[in-house]
């Protein structure tokens, strides 16, 4: 892992020295085992970049922010690229963002890191000082079903290639399918009634980049009432799932930040599964791919239609 860390630092330093990038977004060590986001602007600060099992966050959120920053009046947009450290799952986000014209490839230099999995931050003891090794007990849920351990897009890849051994059969989602509809509803009712509509899931999601979220709009109409009741919560989560359908790359940020532990990934993964099964759509693989709802096919299945 230090090997990767060294490569990350070297790359970042090189880019900053040559002025190819204006800054590099990466991870630095937090006060305890956890990491935090680092914006490295000077070559000499590249050393603080780390790579370990606690590099969980999807930093592309900051890439979106950079891309959506508009110059002030009279200022000119500084289009110097930024550097960014991404795990393979995060790299899929970049692919998806490129597909959606949010990220211009020439404005980002990507340090992709091969990855064997990271920890679930909620499963790591808060007292630990050092990042723990990834174990069967503490591994993040998304890593258990990960089929891309190597970055899909990068200017520099750090670390040895990791062989792909996992085939995702969506058994975690399929479990729910085995229940009766009533049981499924009761399961989701228990989850969704907890929601406090803090919109943390939306804020943490790099694909929730709308200039104005439909749920924040007041005029000329309001899609959803503000009250934190089951009907409003359900509406919110279903709409958000539809908005991410065919796009979500399962970076897991929504679930990670949820203060009431709603298994949001399950909803998104269900649609990911259906998108693949029905339309052969897989998000985050190729920026040239068509977007699922931007296209259609005469041969699309129509099993429930009268």
């Amino acid at each position: 892992m230090t090997d990767r860390q060294g490569q990350i630092q070297d790359t970042a330093r090189g880019w900053l020295e040559s002025g190819e990038v204006k800054y590099v977004v990466g991870f630095e060590q937090g006060r305890r085992a956890g990491t935090k986001v680092a914006f490295v602007r000077r070559p000499e600060d590249a050393d603080k970049l780390v790579w370990n099992s606690m590099c969980v966050n999807n930093l592309t959120l900051f890439l979106v922010e950079e891309m959506q920053t508009r110059p002030g009046r009279g200022e000119e947009l500084d289009t110097t690229p930024i550097g960014i450290v991404v795990k393979p799952c995060d790299s899929k986000t970049i692919v998806e963002l490129m597909k959606e014209n949010i990220v211009a490839r020439e404005r980002v230099k990507i340090i992709g890191v091969t990855c064997e999995g990271v920890c679930d931050t909620k499963k790591v003891d808060g007292s630990e000082k050092q990042p723990p090794a990834v174990t069967d007990e503490n591994i993040a849920g998304k890593c258990l079903v990960c089929t891309h351990h190597n970055p899909l897009i990068a200017d520099v890849v750090c670390g040895e290639a990791v062989p792909e051994t996992i085939t995702d059969d969506y058994s975690d989602v399929a479990e729910l399918e085995a229940m009766t509809p009533q049981e499924r509803w009761e399961y989701w009712e228990r989850q969704l009634e907890r929601c406090v509509r803090c919109y943390g899931c939306r804020e943490a999601c790099p694909l929730c980049y709308c200039e104005e979220c439909v749920f924040d709009r007041e005029k000329p109409y309001r899609w959803n009432e503000k009250s934190v009741q089951l009907p409003e919560n359900t509406f919110y989560h279903l709409v958000r799932a539809m908005h991410l359908a065919g796009r979500c790359v399962d970076c897991g940020e929504c679930e990670r930040v949820c203060p009431v532990d709603i298994p949001i990934r399950k909803i998104n993964r269900y649609l990911e599964w259906k998108a693949k099964e029905r339309y052969d759509v897989e998000a985050g693989v190729d920026p040239e791919d068509d977007s699922m709802f931007g296209t259609c096919d005469t041969a699309d299945p129509e099993d429930f239609i009268w």
């Binding site: 959506q68 959606e100 014209n101 949010i102 980049y209 709308c210 200039e211 104005e212 979220c213 439909v214 709009r217 000329p220 109409y221 899609w223 908005h243 068509d290 977007s291 709802f293 931007g294 296209t295």
Partner: protein
């Protein structure tokens, strides 16, 4: 109201005489001695009756006789150019034969669904005067100045008063056999032919009416008028288009051996269409006439009345193979268990996508049996046994089916002779109207200024008819182009209502008893009057009456209304009427909202007054909610650059240019080669005649170069296209450098060519092996030496997975060239190896038969599975081995000339054109039209049209018709001068748009682009479907008139009393 479910065949069928001479005069068929029945008597009747009628005079620019799909298309093409059309049809509705069909091949589009909007468009067009139930009695004068006499029979129903409510038919005591339903059902003496009839005005069948007056007593608006007189109308026009269509062969005398009229379970294909039609006598289910049961097995017999000089007509009827395939596959789709078979001679799947359609039918389990059955007999259980000789095994076999469908031929109308006399034109030997010249003027009749469209000059499928109708429109315009265009009536100035509080007026229509009889209109009006923003609400007897229009205009004024809702019938039929009233009152037409409380409420919930009233209140409330949020929409106008760019200077490009030139429209004719002429330059003669290609092409080139309206640009290619309909700009690479051109519309005529067969059929291995085109080049150059044995291999590279289509022209070309060789060298043996002989339509079959019989050309049929092999040995000898699928032998033919009828494909330049014009192409790079049936010359992209072999290979006559048709289409925007764009378009809220491009990808019309990270809508391209709006996550693109908040207000309105 007759309950349609009682109308199934068994009860009706038995007492329907098939030879009912009152309804259909049994044709006195006298083809053999070339004598036509004397028909003056008919004309005499028309003329005599006319004496007792009202007289009036009308003036117009073009008279169109016949309002089927061809007549309607021609009318719209002319009226859209600003000229006045008088469109007459002898039946009580327009629509012709097409509306009788269930679906259309090869797309299985619903036939009425595609024709009904055209019918409505025709009836509402300000430049079209529609005279139904009318016939032409005389035509005097000359091109540019005709005087016609039109005799319009009285319908005895006042069209201004009839609301189409259908109260009259249940009380009518007279049953009449419905010709529209092909005698499978009955109608009343007062009737409309079918629910979507246009105009929706009932007609009293005078001959059948017993004069009991029942209908008059129940008719609430008092529309029945037994005193209404027929009219004798003098019509002055500049040109005439004849589009009177066809009839179908009725196999009662000839082809009697198939038992039609004798055995109940033998029906015609058109009868089968009526059974399949959802508004037919069995509501769309195939049922045996003998007992109304579902047939377990159905067979079709092809060529009934066609391809036989002795027992019908000599020509191929052109559409039967495909309609039988369609009917069979629809049956198979509905009920896969049905045993479905088609007896055929050659399966003529010649058109675009036809072969694929046929292949699909085979995959679905439709059995194709190659045989012409000799006879059929009926069994005790009313099933039918067909006797035939299997051409593969040469055994006589029998097949028993529960229903037999006869694919009867398209034949000339019996009235053609009378019409021809009236119109002063000729008929051909079959009885179709004679064209001036099949090779040069396939649209002109034998009288100047009188043009032909559709099947009245020979069998044709729908797209070919539509293309020809557009072509006739172009021709008809050229006679009157110097006349003033009709001036549109200027509406009063529009009031600006922006910022005003909504003040809604609601008019709840009783429609006589049709609404008020089943729900309480007054209660609805009182209720809605209490809703927010509703300033005025009333119930009225007939919302559509002229009195009410006046009332609405007055109330808008008196009450200061700025929005209006009419709760009545359907916006589809009546929306335009009320929108016009809005405009007359100075309000934007998009401030009008309809609530459908008749078709969607009173008529479908007629058993529960309370529920129906409640639902009506809800529907009107929903409309009121939306109405309050309606905004005036602007319909942008764009001016049109008055010139056309034609890409491709072959036959079609030149014909299109000349047609435009005749309409005095400036044209740029772009050709990549140094000379005009295209494919025809390489050919020697042209099928189905022996006319030399140079005799066609040279005069054309001369005419093109002499035209003051045509700028020829040879050796030039397109580099780039920008803009949209009305305002295109092209960058063109010319020999003299890059040039920019501006134009309003474009026609693609990029043509086609033979595929490269190198490595197959020995092509490239020997000089003795060549393609048909190469053979013609050699003949043209005079370098073809006498061959001993010639073998032509048809379908080389065709109808195989990579290029699954039939090339449409190969059979004709091979026959023509075989004849040519035989004429040059009568001793040479000529073989044609073929899969099916696809010489379709008029003249082609006859030509083929003449060659086979007269020139002793040998034909050998092979199958896809056992393809001919061409081998070249070391000494250069060529041997063709073929398995004859009819006689079962394998033949070895030592050939000193092998001619490959190569598969064709669209020109390679198509790929660039697709990109530049945003137009699609399918298999073989053939461009894809906006609609396979009713828009065959248009693309989905407005302002771009196409013709000729860029669409699909075709013969000369079809190509010319298409080219002139494309010219007509391309001339419409030019002659309009300005285009009024759709008001319901998409609109981007820039501040919320993230520029993700999802809407750009989803838009079916490529109307959205990204500019500086924001979506931007090109309103000239936007058709207002709203797909983008439903796709945008942020709601940043909104469909005007159907904005999210407008639809949400209706959702809420449907669920809650208070919003």
């Amino acid at each position: 109201m007759p309950d349609q479910s009682d109308g199934i065949i068994p009860q009706y069928y038995e007492d329907v005489p098939l030879e009912d001479d009152y309804l259909i005069q049994v044709p006195e068929i006298a083809k053999l001695d070339d004598e036509w029945p004397q028909a003056e008597s008919d004309a005499a009747i028309v003329a005599e009756t006319a004496i007792h009628s009202r007289k009036r005079k009308m003036e117009g620019d073009v008279l169109i006789v016949g309002a089927g799909i061809s007549g309607m298309q021609a009318a719209l093409d002319i009226a859209d150019k600003g000229y006045r059309v008088i469109l007459i049809d002898k039946s009580s509705t327009i629509g012709g034969n097409m509306v009788k069909l269930d679906k259309t091949f090869p797309t299985n589009d619903c036939s009425i669904c595609t024709s009904a909007p055209k019918m409505v468009e025709v009836s509402r067009h300000p430049n079209i005067t529609l005279l139904t139930y009318a016939e032409i009695a005389d035509l005097k004068g000359e091109a540019g100045n005709f005087t016609a006499r039109v005799y319009r029979k009285s319908k005895y129903v006042d069209p201004d008063k009839c609301t189409g409510c259908d109260d009259c038919t249940p009380v009518c005591p007279v049953d009449v056999i419905s010709v529209f339903d092909e005698k499978l059902a009955k109608r009343k003496a007062i009737y409309i032919e079918f629910p979507q009839a246009v105009p929706i005005v009932y007609t009293i069948d005078y001959e059948a009416c017993v004069g009991c007056g029942s209908c008059e007593r129940v008719c609430e608006p008092g529309a029945i008028s037994f005193l209404e007189k027929s009219e004798d109308i003098e019509v002055k026009v500049g040109s005439v288009i004849v589009a009177t269509g066809y009839e179908l062969f009725e196999p009662v005398e000839m082809r009697r051996e198939y038992g039609y009229g004798k055995y109940p379970n033998v029906i015609t294909a058109m009868q089968f269409e009526r059974l399949l039609s959802s508004f037919g006598p069995t509501e769309g289910k195939a049922r045996r006439p003998s007992d109304g049961e579902k047939p377990e097995s159905i067979a079709w017999i092809q060529c009934v009345g066609s391809r036989s000089k002795q027992l019908g007509w000599p020509y191929c009827s052109r559409v039967c193979c495909m309609y039988a395939t369609k009917e069979a596959s629809i049956q198979k789709e509905t009920d896969p268990e049905t045993d479905v078979s088609i007896f055929y001679m050659d399966l003529r799947a010649y058109g675009k996508d036809f072969q694929q359609y046929y292949d699909k039918a085979k995959d679905m389990g439709v059995e194709y049996i190659r045989a012409r059955p000799s006879s059929v007999y009926e069994n005790e259980d009313k099933s039918i046994t067909i006797r035939y000789m299997d051409t593969h095994t040469r055994e006589v076999k029998e097949k028993t089916v529960e229903m037999l469908v006869l694919s009867t031929a398209i034949i000339p109308s019996q009235e053609n002779q009378r019409l021809a006399e009236v119109l002063g034109i000729d008929v051909d030997e079959s009885g179709f109207f004679q064209v001036k010249s099949i090779m040069t003027d396939p649209i002109e009749s034998t009288r100047d200024g009188v043009y032909l469209a559709g099947c009245d000059q020979g069998p044709k499928d729908i797209p070919d008819s539509v293309a020809m109708a557009s072509g006739a429109a172009a021709k008809a315009i050229s006679d009157i182009v110097d006349r003033d265009q009709a001036e549109a009536v200027e509406p009063p100035e529009q009031k600006d209502v922006t910022g005003e509080k909504p003040r809604i007026g609601v008019f709840v229509c009783h429609c006589g008893k049709n609404i008020n009889g089943y729900l309480d209109c007054k209660e609805v009006a009182d209720y809605i009057g209490e809703q927010p923003y509703v300033e005025y609400a009333t119930d009225i007897m007939f919302a559509c009456s002229e009195d009410t229009q006046k009332d609405i205009r007055e109330k808008i004024e008196e009450e200061g209304l700025n929005r209006v809702i009419v709760a009545a019938c359907s916006p589809i039929t009546h929306g335009g009427l009320f929108q016009d009233t809005m405009v007359e009152a100075g309000l934007n037409k998009y401030l009008f909202e309809f609530a459908n409380i008749r078709q969607h409420c009173s008529w479908v919930h007629s058993h529960d007054r309370e529920e129906a009233t409640q639902k009506a209140k809800d529907l009107v409330r929903m409309s009121a909610n939306k109405s309050a949020l309606l905004e005036p929409l602007e319909q942008e106008e764009v001016s049109v650059i008055p010139s056309v760019l034609i890409v491709g200077g072959g036959l079609s490009g030149m014909r299109a240019a000349l047609a435009l030139s005749d309409m005095k429209i400036k044209t740029y004719l772009l050709e990549k080669d140094p000379e005009l002429g295209g494919m025809l330059r390489r050919l020697h003669t042209l099928f189905p005649s022996d006319v030399k290609a140079s005799d066609i092409i040279d005069p054309l080139i001369k005419r093109v170069s002499e035209s003051e309206f045509i700028t020829v640009m040879t050796g030039s290619t397109l580099e780039d296209i920008e803009g949209f309909i009305g305002n295109f700009e092209a960058t063109i690479n010319t020999p003299g450098g890059e040039e920019k051109l501006e134009f309003g519309t474009a026609i693609i005529a990029s043509g086609f060519g033979e595929i490269d067969l190198t490595g197959r059929y020995g092509y490239g291995d020997s000089e003795k092996i060549m393609t048909q085109t190469e053979l013609e080049e050699r003949i043209e150059a005079g370098t073809l030496e006498k061959p001993k044995t010639v073998v032509m291999v048809n379908c080389a590279g065709a109808m195989e997975p990579e290029r699954p289509y039939c090339c449409r022209v190969g059979c004709g070309v091979s026959i023509k060239n075989a004849k040519m060789i035989k004429e040059m060298y009568p001793d040479s043996d000529v073989y044609i190896l073929y899969r099916d002989i696809r010489v379709f339509g008029k003249d082609e079959e006859e030509y083929f038969t003449d060659v086979i019989e007269g020139k002793r050309v040998k034909i050998v049929r092979y199958t896809y599975e056992e393809q001919p092999e061409v081998a070249v040995d070391d000494d250069g000898n060529v041997m063709v081995t073929v398995h004859d699928s009819i006689y079962g032998d394998t033949l070895e033919l030592p050939a000193d000339l092998v001619v490959l009828t190569a598969q064709t494909e669209g020109n390679e330049s198509v790929e660039g054109l697709m990109e530049m014009f945003k137009i699609p192409a399918g298999p073989g790079r053939y461009l894809i039209e906006a609609h396979a049936k009713i828009r065959p010359l248009d693309f989905a992209t407005d302002g771009v049209y196409f013709c000729g072999s860029a669409h699909f290979p075709k013969n000369l006559a079809d190509t010319i018709a298409q080219s002139e048709g494309a010219a007509s289409r391309a001339a419409i925007p030019i002659m309009k001068g300005t285009l009024v764009l759709e008001g319901i378009t998409a609109n981007v809220l820039e501040e919320i748009c993230s520029g993700c491009g999802l809407c750009v990808a989803a838009c079916p019309f490529s109307a959205i682009d990204l500019e500086s990270g924001k979506a931007i809508v090109n309103t000239a391209l936007c058709k207002g479907c709203g797909v983008c709006t439903a796709t945008c996550r942020a709601g940043a693109i909104q469909q005007k008139g159907f904005k999210d908040e407008q639809i949400l207000s209706m959702i809420k309105g449907a669920m809650h009393e208070v919003y």
